[in-house]
Symmetry: C2
Subunit: 349 residues, 2 copies
C-alpha cells in the first residue's frame, strides 16, 4: 500500500471531525490530506496527526490527484461535487443519501458486503474514479447484526424501533439539545431551530421529512438500504425512527422473526464470532449496551438477546453503536482502507 492523497469535504462538521479522529486512530497510509468545506467554514484551522491545516473552500481543482475523497457535507454538495471528484479520478466515499439507492452505486458496510466493493473496484479502469455510498447511521449498526442472523437462520420479518441521539442531526443537533437543557435549568427561553420540536427531555417520533405513506424518509432509508446491503430485496421489515434526548449513539429495539429455529444462546455464539460486533448481555449484572459506554468506540454492541414467544422462531435484541463513528466516519474510513488496498494492488498507471 502506497501513500494516499486524501480529501475530506465537510471537514468541520460532526461527521467530518470524526473522520479525522478515525484516520488518526487507524493506519491508512496518507501522503497528503486536504480539508474542504463550504465558504462558511473555510478558514477554520484543524489539527491532524500533529499538524495544523487550514480548511479550504471547496473548488474543483482540489480534487486533482486525489485518490480518496470523503464527502460529508450533505446531499446538495455531494450532488454537485461528487461527479467532479470522480471525473478527476478519485474514489468518492459519500456519506449523503443521494446516491445510496442508485443501482450502479455500491452501498457498503465492510463487515457485510466488502465483496461488492471489491468487485466494483475490480471493474473500474485503473485511471477511473468511482463512487461508493456509505449507508444511513441506523442502517449500518442494524445490518452488522442482522446479516449473520440472516445467513444462519434466514430472516422472515424484522420490526425495528430506534432511539436516535441528536448527533445524528449533526453539530447543530448537539448544540440544540445542549442550549435547550441550559435554558430549562436557568429559566431561559427554549429555542427550537433545527429539530421539529423541543428535544430537551422529550422524544420526537420524526427524523427527516414525511412521505405520502406516513413513513419518514429516515424509516424508508433503513428499510431500503438494509435490503440492498444484505442483498435481500424482498425482506419484510418495518421501522419506527424516534429522536431521543441523548447526545451520542443510537439505540435500536429489534424484533427478528426467522425462517429456522433460533435460540438466544446460539445467537450469542454467532454474534460473538461476527466482525465488528461486541455481545454485552449479562442481565444478572444489569449489563447491556448503553450509549454512554459505546460513545467513541468502534463496535456495534448487542444485548437483551431473548426469545420472542409470540412467533414460532424469533428473538428480540437491543443494539447500540456510536452513530458518528461506526454509523458514519468509521464505516467510511473502513471503506477507504479497502479502496487503498485494492487500488494499490491494481495501481493507477
Amino acid at each position: 500500500m502506497t501513500g494516499q492523497i486524501i480529501a475530506v469535504l465537510g471537514a468541520t462538521g460532526a461527521v467530518g471531525r470524526e473522520i479525522l479522529t478515525c484516520l488518526e486512530d487507524r493506519d491508512l497510509d496518507i501522503k497528503e490530506i486536504r480539508f474542504l468545506a463550504s465558504a462558511n467554514s473555510a478558514g477554520t484551522e484543524l489539527e491532524f496527526r500533529g499538524k495544523s491545516y487550514e480548511v479550504k473552500e471547496v473548488h474543483p481543482n482540489h480534487f486533482k490527484d486525489v485518490n480518496i475523497a470523503f464527502f460529508a457535507a450533505g446531499g446538495a454538495t455531494s450532488k454537485e461535487y461528487a461527479p467532479i471528484a470522480v471525473e478527476a479520478g478519485a474514489i468518492v466515499i459519500d456519506k449523503s443519501s443521494v446516491f445510496r439507492m442508485d443501482a450502479k452505486t455500491p452501498l457498503i458496510v465492510p463487515e457485510v458486503n466488502a465483496s461488492v466493493l471489491r468487485d466494483y473496484l475490480a471493474n473500474l479502469r485503473p485511471q477511473s474514479g468511482g463512487l461508493v455510498a456509505s449507508p444511513n447511521c441506523s442502517t449500518i449498526q442494524l445490518v452488522v447484526i442482522l446479516k449473520p442472523i440472516a445467513d444462519q437462520f434466514g430472516l422472515k420479518r424484522v420490526v425495528v424501533s430506534t432511539y436516535q441521539s441528536v448527533s445524528g442531526a449533526g453539530q447543530k443537533g448537539i448544540d440544540e439539545l445542549s442550549s435547550q437543557v441550559i435554558a430549562l435549568f436557568s429559566q431561559g427561553q427554549i429555542e427550537v431551530k433545527n429539530l421539529p420540536h423541543q428535544i430537551a427531555f422529550n422524544c420526537i417520533p420524526q427524523i427527516d421529512s414525511f412521505l405520502p405513506n406516513g413513513y419518514t424518509k429516515e424509516e424508508l432509508k433503513v428499510m431500503e438500504e438494509s435490503r440492498k446491503i444484505m442483498g435481500l430485496s424482498d425482506l419484510k421489515m418495518t421501522v419506527t425512527a424516534v429522536r431521543v434526548p441523548t447526545f451520542a449513539c443510537h439505540g435500536e429495539s429489534v424484533n427478528i422473526e426467522t425462517e429456522k429455529s433460533i435460540d438466544p444462546a446460539t445467537v450469542q455464539v454467532l454474534l460473538r464470532a461476527s466482525p465488528g460486533v461486541i455481545v454485552y448481555d449479562n442481565p444478572d449484572k444489569s449489563e447491556y449496551p448503553l450509549g454512554i459506554e459505546a460513545v467513541g468506540t468502534d463496535a456495534t454492541y448487542v444485548g437483551r438477546i431473548r426469545r420472542d414467544d409470540s412467533v414460532a422462531c424469533g428473538v428480540n435484541l437491543w443494539i447500540v453503536a456510536d452513530n458518528l463513528r461506526k454509523g458514519a466516519a468509521l464505516n467510511a474510513v473502513q471503506i477507504a482502507e479497502i479502496v487503498a488496498k485494492e487500488r494499490t494492488q491494481h495501481p493507477v498507471q
Copy 2:
C-alpha cells in the same frame, strides 16, 4: 351518590400527589379524606381543595369507615395493609403490581373493562370491602388503544417498544435525572442511586428486575396485564421496555398485526370515537403525540398511524400518555368514580 370517606396511602409520593390533583379536578363527592404514608413521610402537610391536612403514619385504625382507599405506597405496603382495609369494609384501589394477576382481583381500565368492575362490585355483599387493581402505566395507555382495534379487526400479534420517563420510577427517578443533568452541566460528579445506570442523556433498556427468560418484570407485566384486561388470554405479544431521559409521559412504538384487513384511515375514525383517546396525526404539520404536550392531561394520544406492509394486515402507531395521570392516578380515580356510583346504588346497610 352520597359523600365518600376516602383514604390515600402513599399520599406524598409522585402518584399519591397526582391522585390529589385528579380528585381536585374531578367531581367525586368526598365527605372526608385521610392522607396516610410511611413513618418517613408522616407529618408532611398537604393542601387539598383549599384545606391543609397533615399526613398520618399508616395504622389499621385509619381504615375504619373508609369507603375507598387508594393504595400508592408500593407492593410491600399493599401486601400488608390491603387485607386490613378490605376487612374494614373499604374498596381498595391498588396501584401496586402485587394483586394484579390474582385471578380473583379485577384489573381495571375503565375505558376497556368497566363491566368487569361492575360485576365484581355487584357480587360483593353490601358490607364487604373489596380489592381492585390498577394496571402498570405502560399497560394502561396501550390497552386503551388496542381494545377498539381488537374488537374491530382482531389482534394477531403486537410488538411494543417503550420510551418511558423517569417519573415511572417515582419522585426519586425525577430527582435522579434532574440532579445528574445539573452535575453534568456544572462539572459535578454524577450519582447513580435509584436507576441501574446514568439516565441523564442515556437510554437504559431495563425497567424493574430481570426474569430467567431474559425479559424484565416490566415487560412481562405489560404482556400479562394486557391479556387479562382485554380478555385475550392467548394474545401474541412481545415487549421491550426502555427508560429514556424524559421527566414525564411514556411513549410507545406499537406494531399491530390484525386478523382482518386494516387501513390507517379506518383506524383514525375508530380511535377518534374511542373513549379516552385523542388522535393527533398530521404528519404534514409535524403533528404527532409528544410527551411535553401530553403532560398533565388525561387522554392517551395516538399518531403516526400508518400501514405496515411487512404483513398482510397491519399498522404501526405511536402513543403517548402521562404515566402519572392516565397511567396511574387518573385511572385509579376513574375506578373510584365507578365504585362510588355502584356502591351508592347498592348502599352499605
